[in-house]
Symmetry: D2
Subunit: 381 residues, 4 copies
């Protein structure tokens, strides 16, 4: 199954780390550590392989992929030797990474994006193309009536004023071109009633939001522990210190608020109540792509005794995200092939703020994912 | 269902905290925080209630229960006002807490223990008595051929030399008296082939070992997270600082070794391999019943990137253990009533070193437990 | 030397903890742990003793002192048994804790405050009265030309509009009444040119600002370590989680900003440069008077190697502050007796944001303090 | 002032890191971060410069220096580019790094070592040679009467049985050859009455023991903070996780005990009493040269309130030690030139377990060091 993976934000850290990794794994230079589909429980021959993925994408930046790979190596995100080894292969991808089209109306932009997707599919003779958004997190968009109605949206897009934030426009274009769409960012993406309607009209699945790679991942296993042990969480406070391009952007209050909200959702979802406390995000440029998160949880046990647990997570964000991008591409392709349409709630395992009414405990999400993989693997249209 | 709860080590911290709590809950003075059977998912009218439990036990100490309760209040384990409120009720339990019989042979001791259990059942007109071992952790016992053979054991017990460590003798006596037996300590207890045979002969269930109340609990949710995300744990090291009676005993190298081994089992059980690193236990008298555990986990992600998480757990051991004692008594009684015999592998959720071939991930253990509760609740002999 | 200690904010946590403590120490019920003047190096018979302190003060709240003491006991700040033991003695102080006068102009208020101070001095036949501000932290005040000129200030105070924030008005009144003044809060207090002029005119000393009781204290010993070892601090980020009355107030952005700025000053002062990173203050009501602060320091060593240290401080703010209030009262009284006037730069040891050009390393501040104590003790007017 | 720096253990991590660093600094490729003598307060033209140091040494290993440098680069201790840049210069040092002489008696060995030192001095026309021991930590030696008497020692060394542990033999040889000697390890070295006598006879200074580079460094600033604030430390417990050659050796119980004892001395020295708690050292090979230490301090404040601070130190041991080796060589050469003889108590700043009756607070040690540097710089024989 030849599968296209079209990345919105293809020159960013997550995107390029995923390319370097896929190329290195394909060349036998690296193991697929961090790829969920390579665990014994989820490995399936019927899924597209990492080696079946063909990369392309849009970006507003023009930094060459190999330059970015070298910068990632310098920052310790990928090993120097792998960045060098895949340099030629990255040059091969360059031709499929295109500047984001700039046109007079959002409707035209959408058609230009869809045309890029069609050309990509044709050139590489792909069975399908999955579009994944790994571009800069947007601020929450202003509401607009056309967000709720597909026909209204179609007309509005050809008007002079922008109607959709960039992520939603990308989702619109992808779905219009017959491509399943996944939002790895907390941005709006396909999360609008009009786009849900479009996905269903086209018989396409979509997924999101906001890859779960650090503090929220830990939360999604610790919070159920408290619930299952009937220990009452009184406060849960945390701070995330991060640098990198993503960090710089999240220093903007609006983007920060979107992300912080996304990070807290796991608590009511697993505990059944909202403990006191907030999650902060602070930009510390010098930390680069390595993030340090600290959380303090205070809880109450038998007869009211007060106790506490704190943890410090020190992770490399792009290294944690990149293998999930490969997983999501493979899963979404398989879901599409299996005929799944609408929101892929079975992918909640991957997201901080998953679509739909889904379990928030990681273990539950894992079971749901496992069942989905079995069903994708056994269904072929 | 009037259920006896006979505690070996009835004057210890865990035992007395569980008594104070049960009495306070019964009197409406405290909520059953920390009691797993009081979560919405596990609450069942068909299980014996906390109010149905009747306490008794053996100990080698003669400290009055109310003195111990006052000491626990002084140490911040139970609130002063609850210790005072249940003082009279504790005096009522005194008559059922008896000195451990001392006799010429282990066989005679077992018969004396069994006689105490019979008298307890009769006096309170109990449907059944569950025996739970919350006494001091023993060193690992010397092997003896009679451990593997029930007939050999029966003869050996009447010989002049001790054959069984105290915990196994307690299990032998309990089972002989028709009582289900649970080992909350890491000691041998019922974990000998001869005692398994005895349980089956008598049609009795038994459970254990070693209540999971702190660092290992956190391990049992964090380790599966790494496995499910295909992140390779390279090292997992930890230290437990604890005071209290249990801490003093664990400062003995032999007991310490037993406990530390028990604490590490969760890693191979969930990861499928053994990462480097050890778990230390250090006695720090001044910390009293409050334990601080610190763990460092280093792991490897995509393309070999090194990352780390560390956590500090600051818990009150007896406050964490006591509600589980109430749960175990209720569950084991229900299992017995439902006709379960042999090792209660479905109770793995509660133990660091559970009996049988069972899942080590907390979430899996929770599902198994939930199914068991449903089955106990629906089955009545 | 009978010394009055007049507290602005006399019904607050810090104030009442210092009263309970002084009374308990005087009664031989507690040791003076946390009192710097009771270390072997600083103990001097020539200083006023803890037992020589006579308490009084102003507050806008009317909660009785013994009620507040009971609440502090409930929260674990002071032991229940001490709060009970000093209950009568607290009632004795009640008559000297007066509502803050409310009048038509700030000038009148100042005169009413001064009159209260005079009455207090007379009633108890005191050698001197030290005024210490432990009231709620104010937002930074609007600038006013009269702040820089004592004559202009005197006229402006009798105008209809408020010129000074409450802390500065308190300082004005105290100095006018011949009382040395100390600001334990980050508020303006005596830190205005016009008030400095007043202090010099009256021959009075004053001290401040912002008691150093937690994270900044640790910073003031860790930062010099990096400097002396020639290790380059790259980032220093932190978060303070605190509840209590002070926490609630600091949740206000303006007060928070004042406090956070005050907390960061130690870094340039000891390192000689400003590393990246911020200090956050978050209000978490449930933590009450117990504050948890977490700091991450990343630094660079030989040949650029990156390293890090993180610390978690879990302290009881009022318990840390109260003994320093006793120290400051005794020191300021001794300084006054010894003829010191103007800013007491020798008290930098006690403050986050000390007055004057002073060392920021705790060890240096300690040496300066020690020399000052020797000089106070040897000088008597 | 051309100064020889003769390293016992010249092929180890600390030694080779110090060589790479000195060569890189000399070549203008790196800044002297971590070198204490390069702080503004201690920089002095009268001290030998880093560029004046000429390297040589003994080792029992034969790994080439550039191979070791490459391994250190691989492990992230030194940057790859610096290891490459100084490769040729390292080859130049090779000829001066000699196998440890193996002879029939310890006396002969000492003479062979001394002859190596003489040749080294002559070949490079050095003003003086400082010998620093950075070899593997030894177990504590068996006592021997000759340790206390120089004449007895001289005769015993020519007997058939070994009298001295290797570090003390190295010290004996160095002093016999007229070279000042410094022990960076916790081993015996010059710390024997007979060797003190030898140093005085020869008019030589010596220094030690056990470089202070991590947890103990932090202790030496935190402990004085508690003392100066009159806060009572109740427990101080810690664990050090370390890999590397040094870690492997410290996994041996005897060496571990020597090190752990050395690490705890700072507490009584600064607090005036010994709090409860121990310091553990655990070998975790995978951590390599990066050490993680965690400490928990519980303390008591005003009226007995319990509080706590914990810290995690994540440092690269060789990167922390290497610049101190350069400092110690320069300081000891200057001390020698200035005519200092006997134990260099003024170097306590550098050591966990300093010689003599010295302050244990880092700030005090720094002041003593500063005065010493001034005095060395102003004195020239
Ligand atoms: N790394 C993680 O762990 C993680 C987890 C969850 C979510 N995310 C999200 O993934 C996204 C990417 O993270 P990153 O670290 O790679 O960030 P990055 O800044 O390195 O890359 C973002 C890229 O998007 C490009 N871009 C910006 N606007 C665009 C547009 N309108 N169209 C196309 N390209 C555009 C930028 O030029 C840049 O190359 C962020 O939104 C981040 O919040 C990352
Ligand atoms: N508290 C926890 O979180 C936890 C978790 C897992 C296991 N455990 C285990 O529970 C046990 C009890 O812990 P604790 O804190 O209450 O200890 P404890 O020291 O307070 O109490 C133990 C009691 O057992 C009694 N005892 C000793 N030997 C006996 C014997 N042969 N027969 C009868 N009684 C005997 C002692 O006199 C004492 O009263 C320990 O083995 C501990 O390891 C506790
Ligand atoms: N506790 C610490 O460790 C610490 C350290 C540094 C600074 N401080 C400062 O000390 C102050 C007191 O802290 P707290 O925890 O006792 O707070 P708190 O809220 O318990 O007490 C403040 C008291 O001041 C009174 N008050 C408010 N405005 C007043 C006014 N205009 N005149 C007179 N009284 C007034 C309030 O009614 C209250 O009783 C705060 O400003 C805090 O920032 C405390
Ligand atoms: N790195 C630090 O932060 C630090 C701090 C304090 C003390 N130390 C001490 O410094 C020493 C060196 O540490 P390292 O990390 O470089 O260790 P290492 O194992 O890398 O190097 C030790 C070297 O000594 C050599 N050696 C062993 N026995 C010898 C002998 N008898 N004569 C000559 N050479 C011998 C070994 O072959 C090896 O090359 C250790 O004793 C360590 O405890 C290091
Ligand atoms: Na930590
Ligand atoms: Na911590």
């Amino acid at each position: 199954m030849r599968t296209g993976l079209w990345l919105i934000g293809a020159r960013g850290s997550v995107a390029v780390t995923s390319m370097v990794g896929a190329l290195a794994i394909r060349a036998g230079l690296a193991a697929p550590t961090g790829c969920v589909l390579e665990t014994p429980e989820l490995r399936h021959d019927a899924l597209p392989g990492i080696g079946d993925l063909v990369f392309g994408g849009h970006d507003i930046s023009s930094t060459p992929l190999d330059k970015k790979a070298a910068a990632l190596a310098e920052a310790g995100v990928v090993p120097e030797r792998l960045a060098s080894a895949v340099q030629d292969a990255l040059l091969g991808i360059e031709q499929d990474v295109r500047p984001l089209p700039v046109t007079a109306t959002q409707g035209e932009t959408a058609r230009a994006v869809a045309a890029d997707l069609d050309r990509f599919r044709a050139r590489h003779d792909l069975d399908r193309v999955v579009v994944i958004n790994v571009s800069t997190t947007e601020p929450a968009p202003s509401p607009h009536p056309a967000h709720a109605d597909l026909d209204a949206l179609r007309s509005a897009l050809d008007g002079p004023d922008p109607v959709l934030p960039p992520s939603a426009l990308a989702a619109y274009a992808a779905l219009s071109a017959g491509c399943p769409y996944v939002d790895f960012t907390p941005s709006t993406g396909a999360r609008l009633p009009a786009l849900d309607a479009l996905a269903r009209e086209k018989g396409l699945p979509y997924g999101g939001h906001d890859g779960k790679t650090g503090e929220t991942l830990v939360k999604s296993v610790l919070a159920p522990m408290f619930a299952q042990r009937n220990l009452r969480v009184r406060t849960w406070s945390g701070i995330n210190l991060l640098g990198g391009g993503d960090g710089a952007n999240l220093a903007e209050p609006a983007a920060n608020a979107a992300k912080a909200a996304s990070k807290q959702r796991v608590l009511p979802g697993t505990l059944g109540y909202v403990p006191e406390g907030d999650t902060r995000i602070d930009f510390v440029a010098d930390l680069d792509d390595f993030k340090t998160a600290w959380d303090l949880v205070t809880f109450e046990g038998f007869l009211g005794t007060r106790m506490r647990v704190e943890f410090t997570w020190h992770g490399c964000d792009s290294a944690l995200a990149a293998p999930l991008i490969l997983d999501l591409a493979r899963l979404t392709a398989a879901a599409h092939r299996a005929g799944r349409t609408g929101p892929l709630t079975e992918l909640a395992f991957f997201f901080k703020d998953p679509l739909g009414e889904v379990p928030h405990a990681l273990a539950e999400q894992w079971r749901v994912l496992r069942a989905a993989v079995d069903s994708y693997a056994s269904t072929t249209r």
